[in-house]
């Protein structure tokens, strides 16, 4: 029995934390809100230099060939500092999809770029109808002269402006529930592709609408089998959700730390407020949530890495618990801070907003409940 990250993983966490602390933790996120992207880019290339972007990429393509558990330290640390950008989407969604379904050519090109830290991916999934199901995919992809012609609209594409490539869910055939959908890789600078940003409560992340006006892409950009993209996406989402849980654990850890630290120094009625049980017990509840989220997230990533039988339920439960608990404890954190917690100046609100961003991110909470129940055989 050994349920812990190993020494190398913890050591690596140490490097990443030191680096992000050095950059002022949430300072980069705040600069990003102000529209300043230079420091984010610098920080991301620093992380790439540390090796963060190549961890889970095969050695053949310039990576370290490690697994999901090795990604946890980076994910948690980026969560702690609310790092903007597409690390999660690139390394925990695009990479596993490319590794599993990519052609030699795609791997050679994209994985090598990701490993080097020069390129990032986003996912263009949702459409104005708002459905997360396969029926919601209407963006049309017609084959013509060995090419695919894409026309339609995607919304709520995360950080579209920062991404170099998008994985796009397109409709290539009628098919039944899971068929007729294909994943294609589209470069951002493709002609006939326009981008319109959408206002987002979590200003540390961007959302955009993408309009495809007969965007022409070669067949070589299809990721995985034609018409089978939905199932491939589900595979990718397992990796993504296991990783998302770890990011949230990092966020939650920071929130609990903020609450506990503040409760030790803020005095009222001649006492540190942490002596009052209404405060103390609430912070303990937050801590319990944090540790439970962590256990579930570690196990989910272990189940993913080892291909355990219970991986689907483990991953959906980790995601459900983490997203809900993060909303809960980041809200409590504001209450514990009192008036100052309600200001823009203190970080509390940034965590609430990020919690809401993740709550229904790439799949609704309800959908993951259903997935868990089905995986449990109920």
């Amino acid at each position: 029995m050994d349920f812990s990250l190993n020494q190398e993983q913890e050591m690596f966490r140490g490097y990443v934390r030191k680096y992000l602390d050095g950059a002022g933790q949430t300072k980069t996120a705040r600069a990003y809100i102000e529209g300043e992207t230079g420091s984010l880019r610098a920080l991301l290339s620093g992380l790439a230099e540390l090796g963060c972007t190549s961890i889970n990429i095969s050695e053949d393509y310039g990576g370290m060939g490690l697994g999901p558990l090795d990604l946890i330290p980076v994910l948690e640390e980026t969560g702690r500092s609310l790092l903007p950008g597409l690390y999660l989407e690139t390394n925990a969604l695009a990479v596993p999809l490319l590794e599993k379904f990519g052609t030699e050519e795609q791997k050679g090109r994209y994985l090598a770029e990701i490993a080097a830290g020069t390129k990032t991916f986003s996912l263009a999934w949702l459409e104005p109808g708002g459905s997360y199901g396969p029926f919601g995919i209407n963006l049309e992809a017609r084959s013509l002269n060995g090419q695919l012609i894409l026309s339609g609209v995607k919304t709520m594409v995360p950080d579209a402006e920062l991404a170099d490539h998008y994985i796009v869910l397109v409709r290539t055939g009628k098919g039944n529930r899971n068929e007729g959908i294909t994943l294609v890789i589209v470069d951002r600078n493709e002609t006939n592709l326009t981008l319109e940003s959408q206002k987002n409560i979590d200003e540390t992340r961007q959302l955009s609408a993408l309009a495809f006006n007969d965007v022409e892409i070669p067949m070589g950009q299809v990721l995985g089998a034609m018409h089978q993209g939905w199932d491939a996406l589900q595979e990718g989402l397992l990796s993504f959700n296991a990783a998302l849980s770890a990011v949230i654990v990092g966020c939650m850890e920071k929130v609990v730390e903020m609450a506990a630290e503040y409760a030790k120094i803020r005095e009222q009625f001649g006492q540190p407020i942490g002596r009052f049980q209404a405060i103390k017990h609430r912070i303990v509840d937050m801590k319990m949530d944090l540790e439970t989220a962590r256990s579930l997230a570690y196990y989910a990533n272990w189940a993913l890495e080892s291909g355990a039988e219970d991986r689907v339920q483990a991953i959906s439960c980790a995601r459900i618990f983490a997203t809900k608990a993060f909303v809960r404890i980041s809200s409590d954190n504001i209450q514990i801070h009192g008036g100052i917690g309600f200001t823009e100046e203190i970080d509390c609100h940034l965590f609430v907003k990020r919690a809401r961003f993740y709550e229904n991110y790439l799949g609704s909470t309800e959908q993951y409940y259903k997935q868990a129940a089905t995986a449990l055989g109920w």
């Binding site: 029995m1 050994d2 349920f3 812990s4 990250l5 190993n6 558990l69 609990v256 506990a260 409760a263 030790k264 006492q271 540190p272 942490g274 002596r275 049980q277 103390k280 017990h281 912070i283 303990v284 509840d285 801590k287 319990m288 540790e291 439970t292 989220a293 962590r294 256990s295 579930l296 570690y298 196990y299 272990w302 339920q313 483990a314 439960c317 459900i320 618990f321 409940y369 259903k370 868990a372 129940a373 449990l376 109920w378």
Partner: protein, 398 residues
């Protein structure tokens, strides 16, 4: 990360399984537990079970070999807990003796005490209870008033204990009494190994809300204890108490595994119960609640494994035990509450009228209220976690 058990641990499991198959009361494995309704008979059967465990070498597996144990590793203790929970083994009547008093005496008892008590704890010949709580000393144990006054080589003890589990079955009591008054309330307490079979000790049953009788009031009227029955130093009993509590290293384990088992049984119940001829588990609201409970039950099991890993690495348990106890007891209560809700109005039918076999859910539901109180209330656990793990300032009273 590694969630497997070693070959040696698995062999240990099989050995225990085989033994249980041969030695559990007749029909037990098939779910027929003919527990006597007569208190006396029940007590005898529990003692017999303890004796059987002893004879099979399964009474105190963690004890050193020289005291009749197996020097089981922490992981073997976990396997042991899992297996005992799996077969819903009869209660261990000498729990206090085996898990707490015995190990404490080995650590700080005199040679004479070791010789006199340890073997009898193992065989079940002497059953122990713990006499801490008093009417005015619950969460604040240092407020105890029971007094012990020196009289030659004897001590005369007067006072009242309450909530003494197994007190009515016990031969001896690990008793806290005040021998001195200092400014510091924790000083001046002494631990006695009190003989329960004497005229000065009167035990009165307290009937619990589940209709059972496990705990008692114990009245001490000029009860006698001797110098030789003091553990550690006079007035320094607080240290002994802490040492004793540290020995309770795997208690939570059993509860975590019981929680897991009860969750699976709850799923069974939700499949069995029908709503318009369809299993209740198909109802989206029920599924939602069940996924929530599953998630948190898994979470508490995994938390436990993570803390266990820490203990295995550090060689000693940390304050995280409080987190396990808090979470498991609260979740158990919630899970059992859900079991009653699922049954609808019929959830109130009790005993032989209960819709589930043997009133299993109703009994466990009622019993669960004690779990967030006994062994330290949830509020006290939260104080401990807040102060020892999060470093928050101490509670005003302490």
């Amino acid at each position: 990360m590694d969630f497997s058990f070693t070959t040696k641990e698995e062999e240990f499991r099989l050995e225990l399984r085989a033994w249980l198959e041969g030695n559990l009361p007749e029909g037990w494995l098939e779910g027929i537990s003919n527990v006597s309704k007569d208190e006396g008979e029940y007590a005898v059967s529990l003692r017999n079970w303890q004796r059987k465990l002893y004879e099979g070498g399964w009474a105190a597996i963690a004890w050193p070999k020289k005291y009749g144990g197996r020097e089981a590793t922490l992981m073997e203790e976990i396997v042991y807990q899992q297996e005992m929970v799996r077969v819903k083994a009869p209660a261990l009547v000498n729990y206090v003796g085996i898990h707490m008093v015995g190990p404490t005496l080995m650590q700080i008892g005199t040679d004479e005490q070791k010789a006199k008590y340890i073997q009898k704890i193992l065989t079940g010949e002497e059953v122990w209870c713990q006499g801490y709580s008093e009417p005015n000393a619950g969460s604040d144990l240092s407020a105890i008033q029971t007094s012990a006054v020196k009289d030659g080589d004897r001590w005369i003890i007067n006072g009242q204990k309450v909530w003494t589990s197994f007190g009515h079955l016990a031969d001896r009591c690990f008793l806290l009494a005040r021998t001195n008054r200092f400014d510091k309330k924790h000083k001046g307490i002494t631990v006695f190994l009190l003989d329960m079979n004497q005229p000065g000790v009167e035990t009165r049953p307290i009937i619990q809300m589940d209709g059972q009788h496990d705990f008692n009031e114990v009245y001490l009227n000029d009860a006698i204890a001797y110098d030789a029955e003091i553990v550690g130093e006079v007035d320094e009993g607080w240290k002994v108490t802490i040492a004793l509590l540290m020995h309770e290293r795997t208690g939570i384990g059993a509860q975590v595994f019981t929680l897991e088992q009860q969750f699976n049984e709850l799923v069974g119940l939700a499949k069995e119960l029908k709503e318009d001829d369809k299993p209740l588990l198909g109802n989206p609201l029920v599924r939602h609640t069940m996924v929530d409970l599953y998630t948190r039950s898994r979470g508490s099991l995994l938390n436990y494994y993570r803390n266990l890993t820490k203990t295995l690495k550090n060689g000693h348990p940390g304050a995280e035990g409080s987190m396990d106890k808090l979470m498991v007891s609260e979740l158990t209560k919630e899970l059992l509450s859900q079991s009653i809700s699922l049954q609808g109005h019929k959830g109130v039918l009790w005993k032989e009228d209960a819709i589930s076999s043997n009133s299993y859910w109703q009994d466990n539901y009622l019993y669960s209220f004690g779990q967030t109180i006994g062994g330290g209330t949830s509020e006290i656990q939260k104080n401990t976690i807040g102060e020892r793990i999060l470093g928050l300032p101490k509670d005003m009273g302490r």
